[in-house]
């Protein structure tokens, strides 16, 4: 008996609205279909109406977890357009916050993975430890979620010595706990039995389907923007790209915990080598005409912002490609031939952020009773076909 079960747009396993249609045969998934568009907010269009400074705070609100990632990607691009560079100390603080954000995002993911696997104790423990890093971020920036530490030309706040000691103390505790989680993640029998061989994505598929971030690194693809195309301070900071050859959800868990340990090292390095000097430079209001692609390794993977400037104080176009969108194709591949019980785990394993990914409009045609996703190009073609033979009413002349 084949049944189509809907996961979403409203479902306890999903924190944000998205629709997964699973065709199942008993407990086995035979086909998977993904539908987007429940969370489109028109951020890109809005960005064209706002100045570069205002857009920092707008892009920060694209996502609640990787808020700093989007803001930094945007600021990096804007600084390149304005041909200015943040001072060293400002850059160190900016990427220090990046790494702290990675820690809080990965701890959050570990908890979610535990919850989806029905291991609520793990969830409670990791989320308790996430509070440490959230408090540190609040201490640095004044906010727990939207830190708003970036500005064009540097950061808005400096660090003092007490803050540095507190961050270092926090890292010591977190490192100890993360090593414990690595042990649990790799040894607790019911947990590993639940994660191993779930959502298999081979190395070839990960490359072919353009998976990014921990999803690709867990399939043994050494792909990390921080290493491949170092931006900011990452050329100076020593770190390793963590990979795993397990290719499953267990591998994604291990990669994320290893990245946590790398992040602690990087934060200690950044704090111990924090250069003196100002934290920001004065930035012009207008950017020079031109276009720029800004890359950034967000906790979930490669984040891309394309900014086009026409010489005014507002961007002419902003295009955001969030890492979750890049991982959708790989997710469909992972879901097929899996079990119903694996759906939430596999889907959660890419660390989906729907509100990050919903940048494009897709239309669902429900008129014929059969739902169908209409591409924009198809829509235009349909319009052309329909209006080709219609006689023009009046002679509208377009003044050039």
């Amino acid at each position: 008996m084949k049944v189509q079960i809907p996961i979403g747009p409203q479902h306890p396993a999903l924190k944000e609205p998205i629709s997964l249609r699973m065709t199942v045969d008993g407990e086995v998934i035979t086909d998977a279909d993904l539908r987007l568009g429940y969370n489109h907010r028109g951020v890109e269009k809005l960005a064209e109406e706002k100045t570069f400074i205002q857009n920092i705070y707008l892009t920060e609100r694209i996502c609640g977890i990787c808020s700093h990632s989007h803001a930094t990607t945007f600021v990096q691009g804007t600084e390149r357009l304005m041909e200015i560079e943040a001072p060293k100390r400002g850059q160190y603080i900016r990427y220090l916050v990046s790494e702290l954000e990675r820690i809080h995002s990965h701890l959050l993911w570990l908890g979610v993975a535990g919850h989806e696997a029905g291991f609520d104790s793990f969830f409670m423990y990791t989320w308790r430890d996430r509070e440490i890093v959230m408090d540190l971020l609040e201490m640095i920036s004044g906010n727990r979620v939207h830190y708003a530490i970036n500005t064009v030309g540097g950061v808005r706040r400096d660090l003092d010595d007490t803050q540095i000691t507190k961050i270092l103390e926090g890292m010591v505790t977190l490192r100890k706990r993360s090593e414990y989680y690595l042990m649990i993640g790799a040894n607790e029998p019911t947990f590993t039995a639940r994660l191993a061989n779930v959502g298999y994505l081979s190395k070839e598929d990960a490359i072919a389907l353009c998976a990014v971030g921990p999803t690709s690194r867990a399939s043994d693809v050494t792909r990390d923007v921080r290493k491949d195309d170092p931006y900011g301070v990452y050329a100076e900071v020593p770190f390793e790209v963590c990979t795993s050859d397990l290719c499953d959800v267990l591998g994604r868990t291990v990669v994320r915990i290893k990245e946590l340990l790398q992040s602690y090292n990087m934060i200690e390095f950044l704090l111990k080598n924090l250069p003196p000097g100002p934290v920001n430079v004065r930035a012009p209001r207008r950017a020079k005409p031109g276009e720029v692609v800004s890359l950034y390794e967000a906790p979930r993977g490669e984040n891309i912002h394309y900014i086009k400037s026409n010489g005014t104080d507002k961007p002419e176009r902003l295009k955001v490609r969030a890492p979750t969108l890049a991982n959708y194709a790989a997710t469909i591949k992972m879901l097929k031939k899996g079990f119903i019980a694996d759906i939430p785990l596999i889907f959660a394993a890419i660390d989906p952020c729907i509100c990050c990914a919903e940048r494009t409009v897709e239309l669902v045609d429900t008129r014929s009773g059969e739902e169908r996703i209409v591409r924009f190009s198809d829509l235009r073609r349909a319009a052309e076909v329909r209006y080709k033979n219609v006689t023009r009413k009046g002679n509208a002349v377009w003044p050039l």
Partner: protein
């Protein structure tokens, strides 16, 4: 007079009222232990130490809107919660803690009551299956099939492991089995393996982590109970709580030498031993993650069933050695 006594027996102690109070207390205990193991506080606000929280949850659910899906088999859908509650409460009457006389078998304690209790503990599983099936939603149907699939896994190990101490005691009557082990407490030790198997099987029967597959919220929403709301859901939850008390009582009677010492001391024994077993169940719930339904079945047949058979073998050898 006899009528009033019977009524008191059925409705107050050890009937519905007592079962309600004690099972909600056990739920509180379970929740508190589970929370403390997760570095949380657990219930704190309602009553002293949050003791009244499960009662408050029950009352709140009772006052909620009660929805019956249009496509559901309405008569079955409405009858199942009450039916299930009646079955587990009736099973509780058979525990050898309240009203039994070793010499004279009565209606609450007779030869073969262990089989009846086991049978009555199997029925809730079928009720969960029917509840999921009668609701006709996707999630309920999947939950219902998972209930049955799991049943094939844990039922045989549970029966084998619970019946082997009875075999050693040479009786099918709970009171006599308990009495046998009170006389020879050392013989509890060879049954430890069976106790572990029975604990795991009971955890599966109660559908708690790692066996909470039929209502795994992240996979199948509410599973079996997706369409249930209000009073019926409250009844189902109370039923699960009472089922937990009855299973713990059964394990205590069979493996931990029952509840000696008359009305008061026997009752204290009952509370301590059931809470101990519930503590072990909570521990298991906190320390494990949910496994897949196919893993349950293969685990049950690869490990639990052979271990239960091994326990049976040990019992038979000891019995031969003793005689």
């Amino acid at each position: 007079m006899a009528v009033i006594r019977t009524l008191l027996y059925l409705l107050v102690y050890p009937g519905l009222l007592f079962l309600f109070v004690y099972s909600t207390f056990c739920e509180w205990f379970d929740r508190k232990v589970y929370a403390r193991l997760q570095n949380r506080m657990g219930p704190t606000h309602t009553g002293k130490w949050g003791l009244l929280q499960p009662v408050a949850d029950f009352i709140k659910l009772m006052s909620k809107e009660d929805i019956v899906p249009d496509l559901a088999d309405k008569r079955l859908f409405n009858a199942l919660p009450v039916f299930g509650l009646a079955i587990v409460s009736a099973a509780a009457m058979l525990l050898p803690v309240w009203n039994f006389d070793l010499a004279v078998p009565g209606p609450t304690s007779f030869a073969g009551d262990i089989i009846v209790v086991l049978y009555m503990l199997s029925l809730p599983t079928l009720i969960f299956f029917l509840a999921g099936w009668a609701s006709t939603s996707f999630f309920s149907t999947i939950g219902a099939t998972r209930v049955l699939t799991m049943l094939f896994g844990y039922e045989v190990p549970l029966f084998l492991s619970v019946l082997s101490p009875a075999l050693l005691a040479g009786s099918w009557r709970l009171a006599e089995i308990a009495h046998f082990y009170q006389q020879k407490p050392l013989l509890i030790l060879p049954n430890l393996l069976g106790f572990v198997v029975a604990l795991i099987a009971v955890q599966a029967k109660l559908e708690r982590t790692p066996f909470d597959i039929p209502h795994a919220e992240t996979e199948v929403v509410g599973g079996t109970f997706t369409e249930y709301s209000g009073k019926k859901l409250a009844f189902f939850r109370l039923m699960t709580d009472i089922e937990m008390v009855v299973s713990a009582g059964l394990l205590a009677a069979v493996f931990l030498a029952g509840f000696p010492g008359g009305a008061l001391l026997g009752f204290a024994n009952f509370v301590v031993k059931t809470l101990f077993i519930i503590f072990l169940l909570s521990l298991m719930r906190a320390l494990t993650s949910r496994i897949r339904v196919d893993q349950v079945v293969s685990f049950a047949w690869k490990y639990l069933a052979p271990l239960a058979v091994l326990q049976l073998l040990i019992v038979i050898l000891i019995k031969g050695f003793l005689s």
